[in-house]
Amino acid sequence: MYGYAGNILRVDLSCSKVSHEPLTEELVHNYIGGRGFGAYYVYKEVPPGADPYGPANKLVIASGPFAGLLLPSGSKTSISAKSPATGIYGDSNVGGHLAGELKYAGIDAVIVGGKAEAPSYLLIDDDKVEIRGAGHLWGLGAIKTEEVLKEELGDEFQIATIGPAGEKGVVFACINHDFGRQAGRCGMGAVMGSKNLKAVAVRGTRSVPVADIDGLKDVSAVMFRELMANPALKVWQDLGLAQVTTWANSIGALPTRNFRQNFYEAVNGLSGELMKETIVVGDKACFACPMATGKLCKASFRGKTVLVEGPEYETTALIGSNCALGSIEEVAFANYVCDELGLDTISAGNVVAFTMECFEKGIITKDDTGGIEAKFGSLDAFCELAHKIAAREGIGDLLAQGVATAAEAWGEESRRIAIHVKGLEWSGYESRGAPSMMLAYMTCDIGAHHNRAWSVTHDIAVGRDVIKGKAAKVVEFQHVRPLFDCLGVCRLQWVELGLPLEHYARLYPVVTGRDDSWEDLLVKSERIWNLTRAFAVREREDFGRKDDWPPGRFYEEPVPDGPLAGFGITEQDLNTLLDEYYELRGWDVNGRPKEETLTRLGLEDVATELREMGRIL
């Protein structure tokens, strides 16, 4: 099968059984790869009501047809499961070098079920697949674990690991790969930990067949030539995603002090330029990527000096301005702490900022924090809270369950400032002045994440107070952007350097030999979007519009300062956005896919199941 290795690897940790099964034409045709494979298997194989931490949950680690080939940044692995953070479908993707390595080992996706009796790691070395003991790794940091396994197995192995937070089931525990790249969101690291799976190590020697090698060479040559000729490439190579911070601040989008503000008066201390001048020691790229946005940094705090990849924009936004830290070096140090503990920096930044605001408001006191002076701007407080969360000690045990659960415990006043949707903490764009971006967060299938529809530039282009007509752009993005996650390729070259989508459309037939047009692929992406929504509808009888609703802060408090001072969005605006969105999607007024919509997308079985359960009309 061109573009694919041709096999699924199944691992049942409960009975230490591994087996290969052939990739089916139906799966490839309908779901493409990556997140599509994840959505398919999680819907099909994780039964309704399954405990996310239980053996019935499945962790799907999937590559895509573009991964590991001679084209710009075919580097993306999607990792999917029922999320412990949200209780619905979750996925997160990671760059680096894992996606290609899986295919070189003859595997397009690994499906891990069950639970190992003792700490284990999965070794895949071409056809040799073993479940090995990980007693010597348990308790180690996520990056330390990777280092130890690299020493034991060799540098050619590509390795995914979890830290102590994953072992302890923190709902925002991430999966680390390649010295500090993360599948950060939705608690995929906690799912790994619940299965006693500390790491996955992969090495392969096979070639990945493509339908037309000369065609691939031709299209990729054009893509690389255009990327190299783009003057903006140098800026990305120099500053990486850290350049976004001051821009986000200038447009009133930078989360600041638990999203109270979207403008940080001390942003200069967090800028990409300052980062390059003061702490960057090297550049680092994912597979076949000319942008090399990864920045290796050295950071010191209280006499300890650490080496860390990052911080990228999201980390700087959520840990930096959102916790009101003073310098990029402090953010880099906090980044290191989270990476080793195995905490998603986006959710960790949210959780700590939420704690700091509750502390400031007197909703909690030092009695609750175990003596920690949880003030905005304190890196000491950040580090102490992060360690307590990963160890689930004291206040950390509650915070390890995310802001939504913590707010349940701390009462009504805290609920309106717990910044999440569906239980997933909000990523780096405060959106009171960007209605389409707000809608993107509200309707993102995994919770409040930006990557499905990053439409803030659309709000700037067509008017920041415009509500009507905005939903169409969100729907469009929600199909095209996740398509990259299915194909196993990074979207940054398109988003930031303007590489035309036509090139990706031309790649698909030369790689796979299939005649699907880009529009055909977008329909498949829409199918996947509806399938992940259907998972939520099947999971919860009351799932619907209320789950697409943002925290009260965003419609109760106008923006206090900065370029958007006085700006706000009303409940009526939010309802208008949702009404328009549901209509365009073919969902009912409560946000449930209509039977005709599911049928149009080839999801007849899903429609029947949901109708018989009484979940759709």
């Binding site: 001679l70 990945v208 690389f224 490439l233 597979f287």
Partner: protein, 136 residues
């Protein structure tokens, strides 16, 4: 002849490995490549670039006279090579690589494809004919 490499600027993207396999084997497989990027991230925050510098030390150790120097390029003749591995042990750079599907060590052929594609343009000056085509 050979590559003059500014390793400290390598970003570890391995484009060189994948383009080498496509250029020399017509396959997408960075393990069928005459160049290797090795991570030294954990200790030194950098990568090593391992590739033949065509020094010719392997030529004399080959018991089958399968290796020769031709216009500055050290080349292995697959017809004569028995894949004994002696050259691999003798290479001071560790720049001869094995692959289970290939019956001889794989090494740099100085085809120049990796140099042309390297986003950092760090793979040095090759033949004058490639001048002006170097990226970056």
């Amino acid at each position: 002849m050979g590559m003059d490499i500014d390793m400290l600027r390598c970003t570890g993207c391995k484009l060189c490995q994948i383009v080498c396999s496509v250029a020399n084997f017509g396959e997408n497989n960075p393990k069928k490549s005459g160049i290797r990027i090795v991570s030294r991230l954990f200790t030194e925050a950098r990568y090593d670039v391992i590739v033949c510098d065509h020094c010719g030390e392997c030529i004399d150790v080959c018991p089958f006279a399968a290796i020769s120097l031709d216009s500055g390029v050290v080349t292995i003749d697959p017809e004569l090579c028995t894949n004994c591995g002696i050259c691999i042990d003798a290479c001071p750079k560790g720049a001869l690589f094995t692959h289970p599907e290939v019956g001889h060590p794989i090494k740099c052929t100085l085809c120049g494809e990796c140099e042309r594609l390297c986003p950092r343009g760090i793979l040095g000056a090759l033949a004058a004919s490639t001048e002006g085509e170097v990226a970056d």
